[in-house]
Structures are given as structure tokens and as C-alpha cells.
Symmetry: C2
Subunit: 339 residues, 2 copies
């Protein structure tokens, strides 16, 4: 059976998630590979290109035709105009013209380049927890903390491609040192790594994880409760800043720490309710797409390049058409650098 | 000579600023009246209606025709859908259907209702310091601190009309009590009132103002320098949060405290430069329209209701047309409740 599809790549600091995505956003095929950061930036580029090439071959074999387009999400500063990655600390990249490299490797198909978190936010907005929500913050609590901001159906990139860096909002002035060089950043207090570090120190097991901390909280361990409450309190303070500035309708929370479910969400909702004064409390929702958000988002970016893409996903496509609402609610779009 | 014009009203907690505004954004006439908050909410409503009525008469007499439309900016929560002011602490209003009341009083002309700060941001974006800037924060440092956020040429209202409340971002956890009920809000540390209060305490003159503080700083008074530096430091911390979250291209600073000019701007730029890590430093600019921003913005909202409004101001009009860029740079729009 011939199935029209696109290649989707979510390139992370340690692993790459890839998918073949159908016109309705269906995941037709998934694959994982290490990024191989330790082999240097050129090797990372080659690993990305080879992964895409192999997916193209796989798609042609399984679905009777080659991918119609490709989308790739990258952590870092993406220049949508030139289609290059200006800078990525996670990948060791500087000025990598990924769009043209990928398009060349894939026989000239259109390629969309986007920011990984914003691609994930796009997917949550169109296919996940943000369906029909015009204004939301999509937050990932993992090794770090970052966010995608959706305003009136569009994922905001900022003037220089770095909007949404909520992980580096200072919530505890003079607090713990953060990887960014600052102190007391949200990320240094409420990321999965921060919770793991604090819980490891509290329980004496250097290998303890954030998941272990959540389990200890559920088992009623008061030390774990203190660690957990500290993280939730910092998170609520950081989110309150976003609520005060942006007045979003929903907060969509994903990433490793969100795996704790109500152990996280119940106290987080309570902490936010305690903090709002004049602000309207947004709905706090778990992300719906899990680890697939980034690759699905990359797939949506790719579909948006095709004339039949927008129609078949029932959503608005690129920036120019962003204000158009679909029947199922406001559609979501994101900056994408099309070739 | 017949001159086409609109009525523009900027309703504040103590005074109302009104204007007749020409199609090119020219201020054809200005007037001020007290709001009369002490006489109760109904009296405030009547004062607004009478002011508008008198402006209509004035315009007809001076310019040979009655105003073609009216715009009004109000501090508080504006419901653009119903054209009413849901809540305004400053005016004592709750659910005042201002748009229909005004239109009735003005013989049925179209009336636009907007938020005062967002109207001011619209004016700075189209006619002032933000001309040609796609993404900016317009900040007013007065009795309180509030902001309008411009994203891709649109002034963001938020999901419930309360976006931009930067004055209530907490920058000193556990700090001074704020009028909102919180502690350590930016407004309690860096507003003109906060500076006046601190300087009054430091110099022993209970009547001292923020302007006095600025003059004492310029005269080299070390006590004044301490007060001033504390406010600038809090302001830079608050703005850094906006930069981290929103990545704006420019910060446009107005309000009473901005009257200090380089006494404020030089240390503020230095404090921001000191704080950015990965963030791109936005341009920090003084607001260009001063006290007229709010009434000019109300006038623009009114012009945007008229078929010839957008064309004659050379800018995009309402939300639907917001992404259209004009020849002089991206145009700016704002939510407006048209009748």
C-alpha cells in the first residue's frame, strides 16, 4: 500500500528520535539512534544526515514511495531565514546549514528546520493537550527546563530565536549555581536533574533519580517530601511569572518529572492557586504526546511545507496563515525555514 | 476647513486625557479633566461620557464635522467581545458596558474600547519609539509599573486580558509589601512611588519625589545613589525575566521615572548587560510619546474601526490584518472591541 509520509527528526544532545509521519499526524514508524556528540560536531551532522537517508530508504520500501518532505527539530538557535543552526551547545554546532545539507542528501525534497521545544509545542498544540487552546505554555521538565510559548495559535520564537527559556528565570536570587552561569535559575531547582541531585544528597544514595524521589514521596518519606516540595515551590514561582506576564489559558507540563503524575500535578496546582492574586489561574495539564512531541512536531513542520499538508491535518500551516482557526479550535503554527 | 478626526480618551485613576486625532495620528486638540473617582463609579462613567460629548461638540465647531469614531483606553480588565469593562480597581468599575454607552452618547458612531497600557503600546509601536520594531516591551514606570507586550506586530492581551503585568513579577522574594497583596513585586521596588518612598526615608523629607531622587543622584548624593541603584537593580532583574521568556528586540521605557533620562537609562543598560548570559540584549529606548501615548493609542483604535483608517495611517488595522507589514516596518495592532 502506498502511504504518503514525511521524515521527522528530533535531534537531542544524547539521542535522536526519528519518525515517519502520515498526513494525519500518525506515527507510521519510529526509530532511535545515539547522537554521538563525543565524536565531534561534524560526526553529529553526518549522523543526522545518514539517519534521514536511512529513513527515506525505509519509507520507500515500506510505504511504496519516498518521503515527500522532512522536518528536523534541533536544540539551539535556529535561523529560520537561512535554514541553518546558528548555535547549539548540546550538539557542538555553529553555523551548520542543516536545511540545505538535508535536502541535498534526500534528493531535493523540501526540508523544514525548527527549534526542538517549539516543534514539541506545535505538536502538543495541534495533536496533544493543547488542541483548541489559543494560548498556552508547554513546559518540559527534564535534564533542563525549557518551554514553548503559544500565543493566539502561534509558537513564539522571539526576536533572536530564544523565547521560552523559562529554565533560566531566576526564582531564588543567589540560589544554586546553574549551568548557564547564573544562580537560582528555575532549572537549578526544579528540573529532574535538580530533584535527583537533592534527593541523592538527602537519602545518601548518589545514584538516586527524580523517579526515586517521586516514589519516596508516594511512600510518605518526609525527607523526600521536603525535596519535592522545594522543587514544586520553585516551579510554581517560575510559572507564576509566566502567568503574570503572559496570561496563558493553559500550562502543559511534560518531560521526565511530569511522569510522576498527580504526585507532581496536585501540589503544583495547589501552589499556583495559593500564589495567584489578581491573575487568572490557567488550567494545568499533563502533556499528551510524551517523548514523541518533538518528532511529531518536526513532522508537522515538514507537512506544512507541502501544499496538501495543511488541508490534510486540518490545521493552519505556516506563519502567514497562522491566525486561521480550524473547526476543532485555533490551529497552531511555528516558525519554519522552508527550502 | 473640514478635518476628519476621531475622539480619543485615556481614562486614568485620577485624570482623563482626551484628544481629537487626525487620520495621520496628529493630535489636533488636547484636553484634561479630573476623573472624579471620589464621587463614585457612576459619576466616573458620566464624566467619561460628558467629556466625549463635549469633544464631539468641539470637533464639530473647530473642524466642520463631528468625529467619525471614538476610542477609549481604560485601566483594568476589558472584555473586547462585549465591549464592557469587566473590572477596574482604579475607576471602581465592574461590568460597565462602556462601548454601547459611549456610542449612544455620541450619536451612534463606532466606538473602540481598549486597555490603556496596550493602547499606549500600540501608539509607541505605530507612531513612537517602536516604529518598525516587530517585538518589544513597552514599560511605564509611574505610580505603578505595567507593560504592553508587542509580539510580531501585535499587542498581546493574554487569555483573560491581563497580559503584561510586569509590575507584579516578584524580583525580591519576601521583599516589600505590594498593593496587590504580594511581596517583593517589581512595582514595590522600582516604580516612581517606590523610589519616592525610599528617597523620602533616606533624606528625611516626607514630601520628596522620584524626580528629587534623580536630581540628588545627578548632584552626587551617595544616599540617593544607593536608593537609585536599588531601584535600577530590581528593574533590571524584572526586565531580565522578560528578556529570558520573550526575547524582545527592544525595551521601550516610559512613565514618570523615565523622565530622568540617562540618569536612568545609562545604569539600566549597564545592569542589563551585566545580567545577560545566553540572552541577546535588546535595545533599551526611551518612550517617544510621553503622556500622549494612551490617548494617541485610543485614537488609533478608533481609526482602525473606519474603512479609511488603516489606509490613511499607513498601518495594519485590527487583529485579523495584524501580520501585514507596512512599508515603514511591521505594523502594530491591538485587540479592540468594535461596535
Amino acid at each position: 500500500m502506498r502511504v504518503r509520509h514525511v521524515i521527522a527528526l528530533d535531534v537531542g544532545g544524547t539521542g535522536m528520535k526519528a519518525a515517519l509521519v502520515g498526513p494525519d499526524g500518525a506515527l507510521l514508524h519510529r526509530a532511535l539512534r545515539p547522537t554521538g556528540r563525543e565524536h565531534g560536531p561534524e560526526a553529529v551532522t553526518e549522523a543526522v544526515l545518514r539517519f534521514a537517508e536511512d529513513l527515506r530508504v525505509h519509507g520507500e520500501r515500506e510505504f511504496g514511495e519516498p518521503a515527500a518532505a522532512a522536518g528536523v527539530g534541533v536544540p539551539g538557535v535556529v535561523d529560520a531565514g537561512t535554514g541553518s543552526v546558528a548555535y547549539s551547545a548540546n550538539l557542538g554546532w555553529r553555523d551548520v546549514p542543516l536545511r540545505s545539507l538535508l535536502s541535498e542528501r534526500l534528493g531535493g525534497v523540501p526540508v523544514a528546520l525548527g527549534h526542538d521545544m517549539r516543534a514539541g509545542g506545535l505538536a502538543e498544540g495541534r495533536l496533544g493537550a493543547g488542541r483548541g487552546v489559543d494560548r498556552f505554555l508547554y513546559l518540559a521538565l527534564g535534564t533542563g527546563i525549557s518551554a514553548a510559548i503559544c500565543i493566539d495559535g502561534r509558537i513564539e520564537a522571539g526576536a533572536h530565536g530564544s523565547a521560552g527559556e523559562i529554565g533560566h528565570v531566576v526564582v531564588r536570587p543567589g540560589g544554586p549555581a546553574c549551568g548557564c552561569g547564573g544562580r537560582g535559575c528555575l532549572e537549578s531547582l526544579a528540573s529532574a536533574s535538580a530533584v535527583a541531585r537533592e534527593w541523592a544528597a538527602a537519602c545518601g544514595d548518589p545514584g538516586a533519580t527524580a523517579e526515586d524521589a517521586a516514589r519516596a514521596v508516594e511512600a510518605g518519606d518526609p525527607r523526600a517530601r521536603r525535596v519535592w516540595d522545594g522543587a514544586v515551590s520553585a516551579l510554581a514561582d517560575g510559572l507564576l511569572v509566566c502567568i503574570t506576564l503572559l496570561d496563558p489559558r493553559a500550562l502543559i507540563v511534560g518531560g521526565g518529572l511530569a511522569g510522576a503524575g498527580e504526585t507532581l500535578f496536585a501540589p503544583l496546582r495547589a501552589a499556583l492557586a495559593e500564589r495567584v492574586v489578581f491573575q487568572t489561574l490557567p488550567t494545568v495539564l499533563p502533556a499528551a504526546l510524551g517523548d514523541n512531541a518533538g518528532s511529531l512536531g518536526a513532522g508537522l513542520l515538514a507537512w506544512d511545507l507541502l501544499p496538501d499538508g495543511a488541508a490534510s491535518t486540518g490545521a493552519a500551516s505556516t506563519e502567514a496563515a497562522a491566525s486561521v482557526a480550524s473547526a476543532t479550535g485555533p490551529a497552531v503554527s511555528v516558525e519554519a525555514a522552508a527550502r
